[in-house]
Structure formats: C-alpha cells, structure tokens
C-alpha cells in the first residue's frame, strides 16, 4: 500500500522464475481444462461416442437454453447475487470490524454463531426455516434474500475481519487530526484502503446468491426460476448435454469476469 519495495529483497533468479511460470501455467490449465469439453458440448448439435470431436456443430444447445428461459434466469440470478452481495458485504464489514478490534464480549462465541451457516446442511436450513418464514407470512423473495444473506455472512465476516486486523488505524487517526469528519474518514480513507477486501467479500457473497438451488427453489416457492434451477432440471436427464453446457457456461462466465474485476481492484489498490 504505497510502500516502496525493499531494495534489499533478493530478485528472483531465472530458475525460480521459470518454476513459478510453470506453476502458474499448470494452475491455469487446471482451471481452464474442465471448461474445454463444456465449450465443445455447447456448440455440438451431435456428439456421439466414440468420436473425439462433435460430428455436427450448431446452436441447438443455445436455442434449447433460451427456450428453457435462460435469459430471464440469467437476469434473476444476477439480481439475486447483487442483492445478497449488497446486504452481506456491509453487514460482514461491520461484524468483521467489531470482531477485529476486540470490542465484542465473547468474540469467539459470536464468531462461531456467524460461521454456523457453514456447518449446517443448506437443505436442512431451507426446509426448517421455510415453515417458519411461511408462518410469519414473509414474502418468498424476501425470505430467499434473507436466508442467502445469512449464508453469505460467514464469508464476508471472516474476510473483513482479517482485513480490519491488518488495517492500520493510524491512517484514520491522522485524517481526523488533519480535520476530516468521521464521515469523510470512512469514505475517503478507510473504504479506499479496504477496497480490495470489500471487493473480495462482495464477490463471495454474490456467488452465494448466484449459485444457490435449494433455498431459491424451496423458500422462493418456484417464483424465482434462476440459472441454477434451470441447470439442475436440465441436467437431470441424458440427451440435454448441449443445453446444459450452454447453461453452465452462462453460470461460469459472470463469476469469472467478476473475479478478474476483483483482481484488478486489488492490483490497483496495491499499485
């Protein structure tokens, strides 16, 4: 963060650099290889064994996916992911800051409660709370957002707790000394310094809303037909491979784009 590199730090030797590059390449291959058959399937009108490549290329998969409602499903998933991120990120940041600065009595216990959604099977949570939400008369979209926000809180809290623990409050004190208001300090000093962590937390929270099946279906009462619902139902039978591939790719690409964006935020903040 604005610090110059220590000139005494040893430079990478060529050999170590080579190994590092090989490692990066292997990691990239590990991540990209599973996408190759997906891309092939998405453009395959006919691909039967033992052919190595599809025998007929086309857009049947895309057409089927659109017919199945991929367009609106994509929009719904995006909105759901964004809403969950918009709620879980500030909540996680507040919880993380409180926990990191040790102002919370029984901080360990509070953290354990916040993390508990990680250890409970989502299916059981969805089924148990569904009845409660129905009894309380909570509208189903609100119920979905509520449950998914709670499910996203462990990720945002842990990430922001670590970020606040590493955060030097001296910058904020200095800004105050120089006459900044509390509000200015938060928006012009604290948040820019924490931007990479916030972007990461928001990304994880987005993924929780983006990829959920069971809560969206059960608590949402089928009113929110998102991409994961379409993928799961299409993937429940043989013969839909092209459609499933198109749907899966449309589920994978937005997070990838976001990941790159989050990486850029982090890089800019470090530069």
């Amino acid at each position: 963060m604005g610090l110059r590199k220590d000139p005494r730090a040893p430079h990478h030797s060529h050999a170590r650099g080579g190994a590092l590059h090989a490692g990066h390449a292997a990691l990239a291959a590990w991540l990209v290889l599973p996408l190759v058959p997906l891309v092939l399937w998405a453009a395959a009108d006919r691909w039967t064994a033992p052919a190595v490549l599809p025998q007929a290329w086309g857009t049947a998969g895309l057409r089927d996916a659109v017919d199945a409602g991929a367009g609106t499903g994509f929009l719904r998933s995006t909105v759901l992911g964004l809403v969950v991120a918009a709620l879980a990120t500030p909540l996680g940041a507040m919880a993380g800051r409180a926990l990191a600065t040790h102002r919370v009595p029984l901080g360990g216990a509070v953290l354990a409660v916040l993390l508990s959604p990680l250890v409970l099977p989502p299916f059981a949570v969805a089924l148990g709370l569904d009845v409660l939400l129905l009894r309380l008369g909570v509208p189903s979209p609100v119920g979905v957002v509520l449950l998914l926000t709670v499910a996203a809180l462990p990720y945002t809290t842990v990430l922001m707790r670590a970020a606040y623990a590493a955060h030097d409050r001296g910058f904020e004190d200095e800004a105050r000394t120089l006459g900044a208001t509390a509000r200015q300090t938060v928006f012009h000093v604290q948040l820019p310094l924490l931007a990479p962590a916030l972007a990461g937390a928001a990304f994880l929270a987005f993924l929780v809303g983006w990829s959920d099946y069971v809560v969206t279906l059960l608590v949402g009462g089928g009113q929110l037909v998102t991409l994961p619902l379409l993928v799961a139902s299409a993937a429940a039978a043989t013969g839909n491979e092209a459609q499933v591939a198109v749907l899966s790719l449309s589920s994978v690409l937005p997070p990838l784009v976001l990941l790159v964006a989050v990486g850029l935020v982090g890089r800019r903040a470090r530069a």
């Binding site: 033992p50 009894r135 059960l218 009462g221 037909v225 139902s233 993937a235 043989t238 839909n240």
Partner: protein, 409 residues
C-alpha cells in the same frame, strides 16, 4: 422421483422441527362439490404453477407450446416450474402445509408412486375432484392403472395424465439376437461379461428393474403379492438377491460399481460401454434416436412375460390457492385433443390414459392416425401382459435388501 428415502426423512424432519406447533391433520382436504361451470368461472384469471420434472425437453415444450396456450384460451395462465426432482415440489407443499398456508405457490404437480404416497400420508393432496372432471368420462373406470398408483388408491386425489411401461432397450447392431424374457436377459448378461448393468437402487429405474427381476425369479408375474408383508418378503426376496449377486461379477466393471441413475446408464449405453439400457418412460427414446444421442439401431426389447406398467398423474396440493384453475388445467390435459397431441411421437409421445372405445369417431380416428415412432412400438404391443406395480411399501425394503445383499455383501 428417485429420492423417496430423502423425502421421508425430510417429512420426518419437518414434523420434528415443528413438534410443539399445531400439527396439520393428515386428513386430505376435499374440494367443494359444485357445478363445473362454477369451477370454470372461478378459474378465469388464475395463474397455475405447474411444478414438474424439467429434464424432459419434449415434455417442457409440450407444456409451454401446446397445453399452456390452450389453457390461456380458458382464461388460465400456466406457469411451468422446472425441478430436478419431483420431491422438491413435495418438500415445498409439506412446508406450506406445516405452516397452514392456504394460498401456496404450488398448484399442480406431475407426480406418481412414492411422492404421491408420501403426500397422501401427510394430507398434502386435495381430494375428491379428479373423478368429477368432465373429460374423465373418456377413461375406463375399471382401468387398474388409474385406480391405484403403486398400490395407493387414487380416489379422485390426482387426475391421470399418461401411461408408461417399464422397457428394456438394446442396440440391435450389438445384440443381433436379443433374449425374449427377463430370465433370458440375465443369462445373456452373464454370457457377455461387462456388457450389462443397471442403476443402483434407490434410483427409480434401478429399483423397478430389481422388482422386475423379483417377479421373474418368483416363477412369473402374479406370483408375488402386490401388498407388502414381511412373510412375502422373506419368501421371495432371497431368491432375487441370490440371482442378482450371482450376476454381479458379470456386470459392467465386474459389478464393482453401478451407475447412480438411469441417466448414467443411458450415457454408458450412448457411449457403447454397455449394450442395453432401461427406462420407465420410453416416450423419450424417439427423440434420443432422432438427435443422435443413442445409435439409430436402438430398439425396444419386449418381454414375453410383460413388464410393469404405471400411470402418472396431475395432483393439486391441498395448500393451492388456485385449485379451480388447477382443476381446469387437469381437465384440459385429459381432453382428447390434448391427449392426442401429447401422444404424437413428434410432440412428446406419451401414451394416452383415455379408453379409445369411449371416444367419438373423430377423436378415435385422430389417435389411430398418429404417426408411429420408428423406435417405440405402440402401447398395445408394449403393454402386452402388463403387470401391476407392487405396492410402494415393497420399494424401501427391496432397495435396502439390495444394498446389503448385492452391493456390499
């Protein structure tokens, strides 16, 4: 449909979670007895959420492009909710019932077998409406497939939609002289190691296969009582498991592992790893051949002794707020026009539940003029010597017995 076990656990969990709260009665609520015109009038303007297994593209297209527009003509909007497993719909209904909801989000469910039975036990289905649908007169009141759903009485709590027949499927290029009985199939599998397998129960299809073998080793159809009892299980199950355990080493991968679902078995068949597959929904075969998923030489194997047949239904949850609209859609789905459109192999190819004898001349002619599927024989041929499905109570013990005696002896 395969997740019956999970279903009963979740039903139990839901009950436990709410112990202390007022438990809903397991009595099925009954639809009000009133003239059909009143139902039609109330249905006008309603939106019916039809929850159905979404893995069948032809089925999705039929509902979206044929059934829904026809329902719109009656003032009812059909909204299809695709689910990976019919049990997901039941889970939602059970939650709504626990919470005492009366304007729930599920109005119609494509269902049969265990999910229907579980729902019946919990009073999740609206009753006393399906027999009053005007188009019901086109069905045979004594049709055993429409009277019982896997041994559970239908009794107007669900309306028939289509019939299905358990079917073995083979590649005629790889099996030029197919066996003609199930015993013959098992012998063939043993003589051709690695070329046959079946989905592991409790997969829906694997479970049917095991019941079919039970019937075969028990000296033929009709020998095993449809009603489950411990005595009947002790009498007939050991021979079944002995036969399947004997077959095990000759299966695909030496029986070390089994496909987890019919879908996996279909994939093995499509990739040429095994020579046979099996399905309770042969209607999809026409499409699978047409789009090249399975070889063009794929054929249906009709067994001399016949196979299990069943019907699937449309049920209205007791929590539905649009029950009138749901009844109108169920009636529409039963109309000769919709049944003949759905039976066309180019649309969905599902066998009709109507009795052709009870149709007028023109409707009967429409059924008779349907193009034949190049793969799937007509229902009359498939359902020859059709056997009645064992009661749903058999399913759990047989699946569990198979796991202990065949999978991990």
């Amino acid at each position: 449909m395969a997740a019956g076990r999970r279903r009963s656990i979740t039903a139990g969990a839901a009950l436990l979670a709410l112990a202390g709260c007022a438990a809903p009665s397991s009595e099925a609520p009954e639809a009000a007895d009133r003239p059909w015109d009143d139902v039609l009038a109330e249905a006008d303007g309603q939106t019916v959420d039809l929850w159905m297994y979404g893995g069948d593209e032809a089925g999705n297209a039929y509902v979206d492009d044929v059934l829904a527009p026809a329902a719109a003509g009656l003032g009812v909007t059909v909204r299809r909710v695709p689910v990976a497993d019919t049990g997901d719909a039941l889970d939602r209904v059970l939650s709504e019932r626990q919470a005492g909801v009366t304007d729930g989000e599920v109005d119609l469910v494509w269902v049969n077998g265990e999910n229907y039975a579980t729902g019946r036990q919990a009073g999740a289905w609206l009753c006393d409406w399906a027999l009053d649908l005007p188009n019901r007169e086109h069905t045979d009141p004594d049709d055993p497939l429409l009277e019982n759903d896997f041994g559970v009485p239908v009794e107007g709590c669900e309306s028939p939609w289509h019939k299905a027949q358990f079917t073995l499927v083979y590649d005629s290029a790889r099996v030029p002289e197919p066996p003609t009985t199930l015993a013959g199939v098992l012998d063939w599998a043993q003589a051709n190691p690695g070329r046959f397998t079946y989905p592991a129960p409790p997969d829906f299809t694997g479970s049917v296969f095991v019941r079919q073998v039970l019937s075969s080793v028990a000296a033929g159809p009709g020998e095993v009582p449809l009603e489950y009892s411990q005595e009947a299980y002790d009498e007939y199950a050991p021979a079944l498991f002995d036969r399947l355990a004997e077959l095990d080493p000759a299966l695909w991968r030496g029986g070390e592992t089994y496909p987890q679902s019919q879908q996996e078995l279909d994939r093995l068949f499509a990739d040429g790893e095994v020579d046979m597959t099996m399905t309770y929904g042969p209607a999809t075969l026409t499409d699978l051949v047409a789009d090249g998923t399975v070889p063009p030489t794929t054929r249906v194997l009709t067994l001399e002794e016949g196979t299990f047949g069943n019907a699937s239904f449309l049920a209205i949850p007791s929590t539905s707020g649009d029950a009138a609209g749901a009844q109108v859609v169920a009636d529409l789905a039963l109309s000769p026009e919709q049944q003949v459109a759905k039976a066309d192999p180019g649309t969905w190819g599902q066998f009709t539940v109507l009795d052709l004898e009870r149709l007028d001349e023109a409707d009967r002619a429409a059924f008779e003029q349907l193009p034949a599927s190049p793969v799937v024989p007509p229902y009359e041929e498939l359902s020859q010597n059709a056997q009645a499905e064992l009661s749903a109570d058999w399913v759990g013990p047989l699946d569990e017995g198979w796991r202990r005696s065949v999978l991990a002896p």
